[in-house]
Subunit: 408 residues, 2 copies
């Protein structure tokens, strides 16, 4: 596997665009994106488990169910089109129709996504006009993919893209993806918005399995604020242009493809956690030797979602009790009296709890470790063989600032 | 029922003390408290469900199980005596022993509690000396109870006390209590530390039922930061000095007593939520007409624990989508398309969502309502008859500040 530059336009036959359509107030901020495959593509996706689902989520779930090949995804940022009732569903369909008309394809091959303020109506004049701008701007190449990645940002401070190539039966297969964060991030089955494109030939069933499984170990392992969004969407389009022998069984090619998709998804997930709203650093929680994988997942997620852990890491405060406390209420039954806890970063590694007892440690070194941009906490449960890693970010003044007046 | 001044010393035969023993760095901050019943009292309690339990929690659970009457509770603030291993258990027993010796009673009639930094050893010289100071300061009256309430504060900004009287068979029965917050507050079975004293005569079994049930509707319905502490403790001592006929069945006296305990517990719980770390206001979430009581509890708690809701309320931002989103991921299955949402305070009431759709509302009035010190959000689920209320607080810069460097 080789990492390459680019995102959703990295794979053969994929084009993209990103434009300013007038949805956001500030004109310098792009707010509509298009991802397009020149040929129909096998599609798979995972979506939010929130009971309150945005109109585009309901639309995409329907398209995925149809089993049809799909060809495009149109996305707007600024307004989430959630809590908008039947009107919201109609607006969403209008957006898909307008995009389909511009592209000369069927409306039921156009996925949609929206992100932004919940409970507001979509400005349909701007959106319909935006689809024409997107068609006009549509092109190949890294830059086009980058424009699309920028257009789906809301409170994100950096755009998130990743691409890799793998060899399958002598053919080069490319996988690219983009996603956005950065608040209301606690994905459950999927992330806020992510789209993965690949020229691999693979059956719809196996593509869905690859996406569902890799999401469990990537996007579903991050949290910025424990708030599972109404709009979480992660979709994959595979157009088969790489010419590899179609993956229809779980053979060696499948394993290679799975690993590559997992790598791309995990890379984006970590970028989202590190760019969480107001975040100054990435927190990685690695739970070792848990009694089961489920336990390891619950323990690691409990650490990175604790407000007290997050605030302590922001303050470079090696307050080990907060990490123990967060594991203690995770719902997992474990013996606290055998747990070891470590902090690690590029600055070094330090043990802070041994067999459940807080140690008197070198505070200066601990502070130095916690001051890094990426901080890892390691918990050795000594209860079994299972391991899991979760990613989050610190809780800062800026998180409060951003969310105290998000709508204005 | 009549509300009266005072706290743990309001009921007959209860004395208290609060002193500075040298556990906290700042000398003006008292750090040890004692509550004492002049005669042995029936005892009941609820404790944290966190797997990581502090030494005093384990001690108290053992005493409660013994079924014996108890007579005193000694509490220290500044250090939690959690994640301290066998040494912590010994230190806790030493504290109980020293207190028992000063009071001339058996060690197994002395409850203990600790609150503060996790993972640090107890300064036993200061604590043993502190028990002598407590004995010296022990006295009747409102002021003594107030000293005790002040001594258990950590990041609390106000002490929390409440007392009421009721008539049972012509006798006046008094119930008083104190508690402390204000971070790591997401009680599950109990609260950080709370102690209720009453001169009622009641059987141990029924006292335990009253405490367990009333905790469900009071302390277990508040959250400051979703962090369930290692030290949560709520205990009740009933010494029978009021002379009422002992409550041994669920008769009319039981109902009266239950309502009074629930009132006292709820009053303290709301004070804790409103005085959450860094909080500038109390948030009350009232869920009406849910399909079941369990649903109503989950929905109301999901609202008050959402960081995005909490930050929006801090910013007086009537961002109704965040409330809908929080209910959506609560785990409850409901029809979002029939839900109505309102904001209410002393400034008025406004509907912001009707049948699941965000309304265009009077922003000026909404901001005014949200600017109040106590803000209520009401969700009408239109799905059944069940109702629940939960209490939380806003997420502010000060919460981050307090917790970025709690230990120093």
């Amino acid at each position: 596997m080789e990492t390459i530059s680019g995102g959703v336009t990295a794979a053969m036959g994929f084009q993209a665009a990103g434009v300013y359509a007038g949805i956001k107030k500030q004109k310098q901020k792009k707010d509509m994106a298009l991802v397009y495959s020149t040929v129909p593509a096998v599609a798979a996706g995972t979506f939010t488990t929130n009971v309150v689902k945005a109109a585009p989520v309901k639309w995409d779930m329907k398209l995925m169910k149809s089993g049809k090949k799909l060809q495009a995804m149109v996305i707007n940022s600024g307004i989430a089109n959630a809590c908008t009732g039947t009107k919201g569903d109609l607006d969403n369909e209008t957006m898909a129709k307008a995009m389909a008309k511009e592209l000369g394809i069927e409306v039921d091959s156009v996925l949609t996504a929206s992100t932004g303020v919940i409970g507001r109506e979509m400005p349909m004049d701007a959106i319909v006009a935006g689809t024409a701008l997107l068609k006009e701007a549509l092109s190949d190449g890294i830059e086009a993919g980058h424009m699309a990645a920028e257009s789906i940002m809301t409170t994100d401070t950096i755009s998130k893209e990743c691409a890799v190539t793998i060899e399958l039966g002598g053919k080069t297969v490319t996988i690219g993806a983009m996603s956005k964060g950065s608040g209301m991030i606690h994905p459950n089955m999927a992330t806020m918005i992510g789209i993965l494109t690949t020229d691999a030939a693979i059956s719809k069933e196996l593509l869905q399995e690859v996406i569902s499984e890799s999401v469990q170990k990537s996007f579903n392992m991050i949290s910025v604020d424990r708030d599972t969004s109404t709009n979480d969407t992660y979709v994959a389009l595979a157009n088969g242009l790489a010419g590899n022998e179609e993956i229809t069984t779980k053979n060696a090619d499948y394993a290679k493809f799975f690993d590559a998709v997992k790598y791309v998804s995990t890379t984006l997930a970590k970028k989202m956690a590190g760019d969480g709203e107001g975040a100054s650093k990435l927190i990685e929680a690695r739970v070792l030797n848990a009694a089961s994988y489920e336990d390891a997942v619950l323990l690691s997620k409990s650490i990175i979602t604790s407000n007290l852990v997050k605030a302590a890491v922001f303050g470079n405060d090696a307050n080990c009790g907060r990490f123990m406390c967060a594991m203690g209420y995770s719902g997992v039954q474990f013996n606290p009296d055998i747990v070891d806890l470590f902090f690690e970063s590029s600055e070094g590694k330090i043990m802070v709890v041994e067999n459940g007892i807080g140690l008197v440690f070198n505070e200066e070194l601990a502070t130095k470790i916690l001051s890094s941009k990426e901080v890892t906490v390691i918990a050795n449960m000594k209860a079994g063989q299972s391991t899991a890693t979760a990613w989050g970010c610190d809780l800062t003044y800026d998180y409060v600032k951003i969310n105290a007046d998000y709508r204005s």
